[in-house]
């Protein structure tokens, strides 16, 4: 199975192949052997091969390698395809786009990074929209100011893109989860 996984603005091609009871997982062409078991609904325990590509010794024997332990939990994020992943306790924002079964896209999403959905984290009022449709924005650029809990809060683009949709204007009240902007 092939996935496009976007983290921190960078899209990685991830291919997962079952190998007996475990998996060969290649990330942008670099393959590791991974043993994965589920520990609860959201969490996998992984034993991941070292950094070198998988090798077979003479006569098809596999070298014994030290297996690095990782615990990866994931939960749905607010936007489509978005996941909040934790590697151990470290949070990583991940967007999983377009499951492909050997080249066939299943959900019709475009290739490349998915859209950034800027969403109101809590109820509030739009103080200022700082951009116009069509503007290019850079990572961490402020795009909208929301007043909530007696403070003004700037919401930012997490990576670069173009303002595709603006769903709010100054003075509007918004609920938590309201879609404010979409950045392509």
């Amino acid at each position: 199975m092939q996935y496009e996984v976007e983290i921190g603005g960078k899209v990685r091609q991830v291919v997962v192949t079952r190998t007996g009871g475990a998996f060969a997982v290649s990330v942008d062409g670099r393959t590791r052997q991974v043993d994965a078991v589920r520990v609860d609904a959201n969490t996998l325990s992984l034993l991941v091969d070292s950094l070198l590509p998988a090798e077979h010794g003479p006569a098809g024997q596999r070298d014994a390698r030290a297996n690095r332990v990782y615990e990866v939990s994931s939960a749905p994020g607010l936007g489509a395809g978005e996941l909040q992943v934790h590697v151990g306790s470290a949070p990583v924002a991940v967007t999983l786009n377009g499951r492909r079964r050997w080249g066939q896209k299943q959900d019709g999403r475009g290739a490349g990074s998915g859209p950034q959905r800027v969403i109101a984290p809590m109820p509030g009022k739009i103080v200022r929209v700082l951009v116009n449709a069509g503007d290019r924005v850079s990572p961490r650029q402020s795009v909208v100011v929301v007043e909530a809990m007696k403070m003004e809060n700037e919401l930012r683009a997490s990576r670069e893109g173009t303002i595709a949709e603006i769903h709010v204007r100054q003075g509007m009240s918004v609920d938590a989860g309201t879609l404010l902007l979409v950045i392509q």
Binding site: V5, S74, P76
Partner: protein, 506 residues
């Protein structure tokens, strides 16, 4: 015991009740029905809509709940009505015992100017400043005698509100106007007083217990200088800059102030300590403090239990040396549902996973759990994480280990910020003061705390892909954005388990 509070402190008080054989009674606002403090109690009563002024600040509803439950006593926790003399009075008037000081002591020490006057009477050094609220005509003259830089502060104030820094005489009039306006809006009292502003001071406080028989026991100090916009984020005990002789002087002064006002029960005297090691009385908190666990860890004493025992009329039979000489070192981090990469904006929402650290020397005081929402109406605290060890370096190492174990998913938290902070050289060396944190945060200029690094990102990609492959129902729900809250974990677990069995069978 009716616990007139919520969240972690309500759970804390309820635990002390259980250990004493007292039945804890909880109160809850609309959004708190399923909160941990309610589920932990023996009885629970609704007290109104979620906004604090319609529930946890409603004296009438709290008294009514106490009467309905047949409680004998009311513990106010911290925040809300804990330092409200009208509440303490109402509890007494209803024939119930208030777990805290008298209404008169709350009134005296609750007024910043009256508290300063009491400290001066007790012979304690105070920050150079005025004792009374000032009229605009007096202010310029008094300011000159105090010296610049100085602070204009609200008499009825707290939490940094109604406060303005004044660098020199030309800024004074504007600062006074602004402070009065803010104080009037926040506290309903526009009175202000002046205080010298110390450069790079440390905020060091002394815990006290006082019984109704005249005994006052001061405790080893707490170092609380790591603050973001006047809010404490990390506390530790003992302080690196407090020698035994300074400790003796500060704790004696604290005890003298408490005695001078006839204080009873738990309280804390806050001092500022300047770069030359001189200490000055700042204010008194007439309640239990958030950071009380670190004191409990280095003394082995249970402060909430003592609050209840004192309220019952018991005598303090603590060996003073036990309270003053710390065993080891303890640090506390306040874990908040805030996004440190977005100005520490509160991050309300559902906690999808929560796994708190454990093991030697770790104490986590939590008021929430996985599956619960962090409400928008209150302080977004997840827990207070404390680490104890034989010395400060070991306590720091232990805290870092604990932060690495703490998994909280579904909301943003300050965990990545603490991981960073506890690696900073100034923190490790103990070279900090009350504006240190604001300064280094500004210097970071928005660089994210939650940057995981390439290796971790690669593992996240592997994990996300495997998760999608092993539970297609979860990933397609994610891809459709329909699992924003409440995908059915039960069904997934069942399917997931079936798949694991399938894998194992291969």
């Amino acid at each position: 015991m009716l616990i007139a509070n919520r969240g972690e402190i309500a759970v804390r008080v309820a635990r002390a009740c259980r250990e004493l054989g007292l039945s804890p009674v909880a109160v809850y606002s609309e959004c708190d029905r399923a909160a941990l403090h309610v589920r932990y109690a023996d009885e629970a009563y609704p007290i109104g809509p979620s906004a604090p002024r319609e529930s946890y600040l409603r004296i009438d509803r709290l008294i009514e709940a106490a009467k309905k439950s047949g409680a004998d006593a009311v513990h106010p926790g911290y925040g809300f009505l804990a330092e409200n003399e009208a509440f303490a009075q109402a509890v007494g008037d209803a024939g119930l015992t208030f777990i805290g000081p008298s209404p008169a002591a709350i009134r005296t020490m609750g007024s910043k100017t009256a508290a300063r006057a009491a400290a001066i009477r007790a012979g304690a050094p105070v920050v150079p400043g005025t004792e009374e609220a000032l009229t605009d005509t007096d202010i310029a003259e008094v300011a000159t005698s105090i010296g610049y830089p100085l602070l204009v502060k609200a008499v009825a104030g707290g939490g940094g509100k109604g406060m303005r820094t004044v660098a020199d005489a030309s800024d004074l009039a504007n600062a006074v106007r602004a402070a009065r306006s803010e104080a009037g809006a926040a506290f309903g009292d526009a009175s202000v007083y002046l205080e010298r502003r110390l450069t790079r001071p440390r905020h060091i406080e002394v815990q006290l217990l006082a019984d109704a028989h005249g005994t006052v026991i001061p405790f080893v100090e707490r170092e609380c200088s790591i603050q973001r916009r006047h809010q404490k984020v990390v506390e530790e005990t003992p302080s690196l800059v407090v020698s035994p002789s300074l400790r003796a002087a500060m704790t004696s002064a604290a005890a003298a102030i408490a005695k001078a006002v006839g204080y009873t029960n738990a309280g804390t005297i806050e001092f500022l300590v300047d770069e030359d090691g001189r200490f000055y009385f700042l204010e008194m908190n007439t309640r239990l403090q958030v950071e009380h666990p670190i004191t409990e860890l280095v003394t082995g004493l249970d402060l909430v239990r003592w609050q209840i025992r004192i309220a019952r009329g018991e005598r303090l039979d603590i060996d003073p040396a036990r309270a003053l000489v710390p065993n080891g070192h303890a640090i506390e981090c306040r874990i908040y549902a805030e996004d440190p990469d977005n100005g520490f904006l509160p991050s309300p929402g559902r906690i999808l996973q929560l796994r708190a650290p454990a093991g030697p020397g770790i104490r986590d005081d939590s008021g929430t759990a996985a599956g619960l929402d962090v409400p928008i109406f209150y302080d977004p605290m997840i827990s207070k994480l404390a680490a104890w060890a034989e010395d400060r370096p070991l306590a720091i190492a232990r805290m870092r280990r604990a932060l690495g174990e703490y998994l909280i998913a579904g909301i943003k938290t300050t965990l990545p910020f603490f991981t960073w902070l506890l690696a900073q050289p100034e923190f490790l060396d103990g070279r900090f003061h009350t504006t240190y944190l604001d300064e280094v945060l500004q210097a970071r200029n928005g660089v994210p705390f939650a940057d995981a690094g390439a290796d971790v990102e690669e593992i996240a990609a592997i994990g996300a892909a495997l998760q999608a492959m092993l539970s297609p129902s979860t990933s397609s729900a994610a891809a459709n954005g329909s699992a924003a809250n409440g995908s059915a974990p039960g069904a997934q677990t069942w399917r997931a388990r079936a798949r694991v069995e399938g894998l194992r069978g291969a």
